[in-house]
């Protein structure tokens, strides 16, 4: 079993990258580029790897996506660029993600020869709330246009989910932090440990800045609403500890993970790799309704995680403050999961983790913004109901799957809209 706390894939060697890059057909009007939400010119960066123009390769990526290093690792490439690769018809698409990582690793190790620099100062001040992928992308793009950008980040470290929520297997903390540092080098002021409403008021934001971009992500995990819930570990907290304080995680012998989304799968993966003997995921519906990507589901099955479908937790069982199991009932789909009477059963466990999604962000209410399905409502320019306040990333993702790359693109688009607006305002 591979270590839980190191990146799953080793970097490509130069030779591996050369072989793979040369396999790329260099499609014209390439479908991979069309499939990338940030429209990275993929054939171009890959051909540059083939010619050993690594700086050119990295800058090709960064000119479309400032978070190329994170996206190389966490993008659901099967669903995006690699899924669109014309060589998929021969069952072996180009490993675009790993090639992108190869180029970005080179950029981090050898520098960018001044490629990323702030534009001539415009005197405009922009506030970005949240230093996750959307915020960093927006801030970086604005800084390249010469605006003075301040990011206010509630947590201690920049990077958002890249730092706190993506398991090390996919992306080590160092990568997320290096990416944030790259944005800092563009002159962006990242202030961490600053909470809107507590440390700085909404009124301050609007009076001190020419525009505001909200990239706050989502809120805390919702409650299960079952007795004994205080014994249940929070999935996102579990993952952030596995990244930043792995020594504090004691693996259970028998672990239950409630939920079947990508975060739940990540929790199960970490638990398994930390040495838990039995890891079971519990879901009220069936594998057909799972929100996790197919490749994640296959991955975790290979890791030896088992599944308990059509099961709904009703009570945490504990003895002397120690978890011993989870009482559940069977469900049937109508199509909503309905408990079946008299079907109660107990799953023994000494550790229970919940990963059942995240609450809506509260900032919409704080700022009095219109919402859509509980998320921040925005127009095509990503501007909220309050002029001058923009939003992007998971906090607006009312439809479609939320992902880092979508957040990066939101940041880019918002930066363009903000730039146009503040420059038009004179």
């Amino acid at each position: 079993m591979t270590n839980a706390l190191t990146e799953q894939f080793p970097p490509l060697t130069t030779h591996e990258a050369l072989v793979e890059a040369n396999r790329c057909l260099y499609c014209y009007d390439a479908p991979c580029t069309q499939a990338c939400p940030t429209h990275i010119d993929i054939p171009r960066f890959i051909k540059k790897i083939a010619t050993a123009n690594m700086l050119g390769s990295a800058t090709t990526i960064l000119s479309s996506n400032l978070l190329g290093a994170t996206c190389a690792r966490v993008c659901p490439v099967q669903e995006l660029c690699e899924g669109a690769c014309v060589l998929g018809s021969e069952h072996k698409p180009i490993t675009i993600g790993r090639l992108q990582r190869h180029a970005m690793d080179h950029a981090f190790n050898h520098g960018l020869n001044g490629f990323l620099k702030p534009g001539p100062a415009t005197g405009k001040r922009i506030a970005v709330i949240g230093a996750g992928p959307a915020g960093l992308s927006c801030a970086g793009e604005l800084a390249r246009r010469g605006h003075h950008v301040t990011i206010f980040e509630k947590r201690e470290l920049a990077g958002g989910l890249s730092t706190y929520g993506i398991i090390v297997l996919r992306e080590p903390v160092e990568i997320a932090l290096a990416e944030a540092d790259m944005i800092r080098q563009l002159g962006v002021d990242i202030q961490t440990g600053v909470d809107i409403g507590r440390d700085i008021t909404a009124a301050d934001l609007q009076s001190q800045f020419d525009a505001v971009f909200l990239s706050v992500g989502l809120g805390a995990s919702p409650s299960l609403g079952i007795p004994g819930e205080d014994h249940v570990l929070d999935g996102l907290d579990y993952i952030s500890r596995s990244k930043l304080d792995p020594a504090s995680l004691l693996p259970g012998r028998s672990v239950l993970v409630i939920g079947a989304g990508n975060t739940a799968i990540d929790c199960a993966t970490v638990a398994k790799r930390l040495g838990s003997q039995q890891v079971t995921m519990i879901y009220r519906r069936t594998e057909r309704e799972m929100t996790a990507y197919d490749h994640e589901y296959s991955f975790v099955k290979n890791e030896g995680v088992s599944f308990e479908f059509l099961a709904q937790p009703v009570r945490v069982i504990s003895e002397n403050g120690v978890v011993t199991g989870l009482a559940c009932v069977r469900t049937r789909l109508t199509p909503h999961p309905e408990p079946i009477e008299g079907s109660a059963f107990i799953l023994p466990a000494d550790q229970i983790i919940k990963a059942i999604g995240q609450n809506r962000p509260s900032i919409a209410v704080l700022l009095g913004l219109a919402t859509e399905r509980g998320l921040i409502g925005v127009n095509a320019d990503l501007e909220t109901s309050t002029p001058g306040i923009y939003a992007g990333g998971d906090c607006i993702r009312a439809k479609g799957a939320a992902s880092t790359v979508m957040a990066v693109q939101d940041g880019k688009l918002a930066a363009t809209a903000i730039h146009n607006k503040v420059m038009a305002n004179g």
């Binding site: 030779h15 050369l18 396999r23 057909l25 260099y26 499609c27 390439a30 083939a50 014309v86 018809s89």
Partner: protein, 440 residues
């Protein structure tokens, strides 16, 4: 099982594959091992006057991720004394009487020197002599190798010195570093050669180092042209082989040609045979992968011959030579157009961009439910075949023969019947409109 054995100017071998005179045939031990693997023969690395070699003697051209599309070298002839080589040649021939052992030689341009080496070689029991008139580096600076091969008079004179005393077949190996390969071939035949072989290596500089600005490989800071060989030179070798095979003097002489230059697989071998080679020599492929490649060279060739119903090498030798012609004899009314199979097309659009940017702008992107479908506008397709060549999918683009509606005619015929058409644009335009030739 096809019979792969050959009789090349009286030199017999169980299959047509000989190690070329080169590093793989440097010693008796190597050739013993090669014969154990099944090689039909070997041309001993050139023996001759004393030499000293250098380090970093091989350069290579790597294309994309493929290693050694070509190799170049500044290695000289054998750096082992002639008497050592002669002793080992004798031992090898005694141990392998059924294999072809040919000895390559190169000595000073004096009749006595050549007479001596011929007698020494014959004394070993070797089956033939190959005269190295091709070595493009080092030896040529000393008046040997390609310095001889590039001057037909020298070539004829020295061949004559050898042929006048030799009792075993004399093969003259030609250098490709010459404008017209036919001239030295004529000279060699005039001098009495029993057979020809080609090509020797091509003058080349492999690369320049972008960090040190030295040539690659760098020999203590200096570099120079070396002999180029390997897969990349195969088309050059085939063209020269075909030029000899379709030359009336050479083909009329009945003297066989040993073909070499980039043979790495049985497929390459079959092409050389079809263009008239009577035996085949291999070097770079063996240097890349070792002597074991002989297994598939023989197996693949034999299976292909069986599948085509050929029972022996003579049945295929020169079978494509009558197809070798010249532009002036090509049918100007022959028309082929490209056709893209949408079922197989993966829509990489390489055909589209190649045609649109660099050919004749006759592929359209037809809107489709998924991605636009590249489609050839056949009435405008000139049949250039670029799209066919860039398409990465097997059997996706085919060149389809289409009736042009014109009677067959060649440039030579037009030149005879309507010479003005070949000389004057206005006459050409009249000719085109009279024959319905529209160039868009």
């Amino acid at each position: 099982m096809a019979d792969l054995s050959i009789n090349f100017a009286g030199i017999k071998s169980p299959n047509p594959f000989w190690l070329a005179s080169a590093p793989p045939s440097n010693s008796g031990a190597q050739i013993h091992r090669a014969f154990e693997h099944g090689w039909g023969g070997a041309v001993w690395k050139t023996i001759g006057p004393p030499v000293l070699n250098v380090s970093n003697r091989y350069g290579a051209w790597h294309y994309g991720a493929n290693k050694m599309l070509a190799i170049n070298n500044v290695e000289l002839i054998s750096d082992r004394p002639v008497d050592v080589n002669l002793r080992e040649i004798r031992e090898v021939k005694r141990a392998w009487p059924d294999r072809a052992v040919v000895v390559s030689a190169m000595v000073e341009s004096k009749p006595e020197a050549w007479h001596t080496i011929v007698r020494q070689i014959e004394d070993t029991g070797a089956d033939g002599i190959e005269l190295n008139y091709g070595c493009p580096h080092g030896m040529s600076e000393r008046g040997m190798g390609s310095a001889v091969g590039q001057v037909p008079e020298y070539c004829e004179r020295i061949t004559n010195w050898v042929a006048s005393v030799a009792k075993i077949p004399v093969i003259v190996k030609l250098t490709p570093n010459i404008t017209n390969i036919v001239l030295p071939a004529h000279a060699a035949l005039q001098g009495g050669a029993d057979a020809l072989s080609l090509i020797n290596t091509v003058n080349s500089i492999i690369a320049v180092d972008l960090d040190t600005f030295e040539l690659v490989p760098s020999i203590g800071g200096k570099g120079g042209h070396g002999g180029y060989a390997g897969p990349a030179v195969k088309p050059i070798a085939l063209a020269m082989l075909a030029a000899l095979g379709s030359d009336p003097t050479v083909s009329g002489s009945g003297k066989p040609i040993s073909g070499m230059g980039g043979i790495g697989t049985w497929r390459d071998a079959a092409e050389f045979l079809l263009l008239g080679a009577g035996s085949l020599q291999v070097c770079t492929a063996a240097m890349h992968y070792g002597f074991r490649i002989i297994e598939d060279l023989c197996d693949g060739l034999s299976n292909w011959m069986d599948s085509k119903g050929f029972t022996d090498i003579d049945a295929i030798r020169g079978k494509s030579l009558h197809r070798v012609s010249a532009f002036q004899n090509f049918d100007l009314s022959f028309r082929a157009v490209a056709r893209i199979n949408p079922e197989r097309c993966i829509k990489c659009n390489l055909c589209y961009v190649a045609c649109n940017d660099t050919a004749h702008q006759c592929i359209d992107q037809i809107p489709n439910s998924d991605r636009p479908q590249p489609t050839v506008r056949e009435q405008d397709c000139v049949g250039c075949r670029l799209c066919y060549n860039v398409c990465p999918v097997e059997n996706c683009i085919e060149m389809v023969q289409e009736p042009s509606g014109r009677t067959s005619v060649t440039w030579a015929e037009i030149g005879q019947s309507e010479p003005a058409v070949t000389e004057d644009w206005e006459a050409m335009q009249r000719y085109r409109s009279a024959h319905g030739i529209e160039i868009h």
